[in-house]
Amino acid sequence: MKISGIGFNSEWVASQSFEDFVKHEKHHGLSKEQMREVHTLCVKKHKIEKPKVKKVE
């Protein structure tokens, strides 16, 4: 899935919690809103109802 010129592996994104996704891909410099949009679209595409929950440290 391509968003803001970045090709994201949508299946991998959908398998991650939003927090883990942001932490993993923060080097692209996207805003939190943009990251939210990517994550939401990927989850919707792959119909993941329960993405991985971020571990509480």
Binding site: G5, I6, G7, F8, W12, H24, H27
Partner: protein, 315 residues
């Protein structure tokens, strides 16, 4: 009644209307594979076969390699060997094997690629001036005619003739019978999508940061230090993780998940990010990174190239 073997060795001699014959050679195609005639029996399927197979990776046995357009044709076929008896009888003892000398336009970056085929036995298809591609019938299959080719190097021009950028190709068929007795053809509407691919090189453009690597894609040229950077043409198209792949392991048989690919304007390449969990679990060692197969790239409008690979190191 004469006792005769004619019925077992000869054929009838009637001609069909509008029979065709080979035209002027236009492009030589190397095809070492084999295709069922029934699968390419229409012009559409024959064309699709050549287009598809010209975009296969060069490791495929079904790959069609496309040589440049022929600009000069000389028939170099060996004359038949004849014998005679002293009362005037002459006959052909041995048929000369077909051979041709072609000239094509090619630059110094391409000629060494063509010369990689020198003195190897290959099977050749020939596109002629009537848009017919000639091969050989082998049972139920369409194959190329067996031949050896030799591509000469480029020379300095003398200014006396058309010589600059002209490469000479010698084509010598191994048997006369394949062309003379077993030749068959398929028709194509257009040859614009039956193309030769260019090998591209991958390299690291900058230091990696953990699981994030910087990769460039270039085409080497004959100029010292010169290369064509595909970032200039495909920065957006190649910013797609669906066009890249990475492998680890002793024989690079284990896929490593790529989570994202982004155009990297700073280094005129791409930022390739690996799954950090998988990456962290890797022992220190090599990771093989490459673009996907030419057909996959072509479908994504990254046309005319075949990827090499770069080995990056996880410290």
């Amino acid at each position: 009644m004469a006792i005769s073997l004619c019925s077992t060795v000869v054929a009838n001699t009637g001609a069909i209307a509008c029979d065709v014959a080979p035209g002027i050679p236009v492009k030589m195609l190397i095809y070492n594979g084999s295709k069922l005639k029934t699968a390419i029996s229409s012009s559409a399927t024959f064309q699709a076969f050549l287009e598809t197979n010209s975009k296969l990776a060069k490791t495929s046995t079904e790959k069609v390699f496309v040589f440049p357009i022929i600009q000069d044709v000389v028939d170099a076929t060996e004359a038949n060997t004849t014998g005679a008896l002293n009362q005037g009888f002459t006959t052909v003892l041995r048929e000369g094997k077909p051979a041709y000398t072609f000239k094509t336009f090619a630059g110094q970056s391409l000629v060494p690629q063509l010369r990689r085929f020198n003195n190897t036995s290959v099977r050749v298809l020939m596109l002629d001036s009537n848009n017919r591609v000639w091969g050989v019938s082998s049972g139920t299959n369409f194959i190329g005619a067996e031949a050896k080719i030799f591509v000469g190097g480029l020379k300095f021009a003398t200014g006396q003739a058309v010589e600059e950028g002209v490469a000479t190709i010698s084509l010598s068929y191994l048997t006369a019978s394949e062309l003379n007795d077993d030749a068959i053809y398929g028709e194509v509407e257009s040859t614009s999508d039956i193309i030769g691919l260019i090998d591209v090189t991958l390299e690291e453009t900058a230091a990696s940061a953990s699981n994030v690597y910087k990769i460039g894609v270039t085409i080497p040229t004959a100029e010292v230090g010169g290369e064509i950077n595909l970032y200039d043409t495909y920065s957006a198209e190649l910013a797609s993780e669906t066009l890249w792949e990475a492998f680890t392991g002793a024989t690079y048989g284990t896929p490593l998940t790529i989570t994202s690919v982004a155009a990297d304007a700073t280094n005129s390449g791409w930022t390739v990010t690996f799954d950090s969990t998988e990456y962290t679990a890797l022992a220190a060692g090599n990771i093989k990174v490459q673009l996907k197969a030419p057909a996959t790239l072509d479908a994504a409008d990254v046309t005319g190239i075949e990827s090499g690979y770069v080995i990056v190191v996880k410290a």
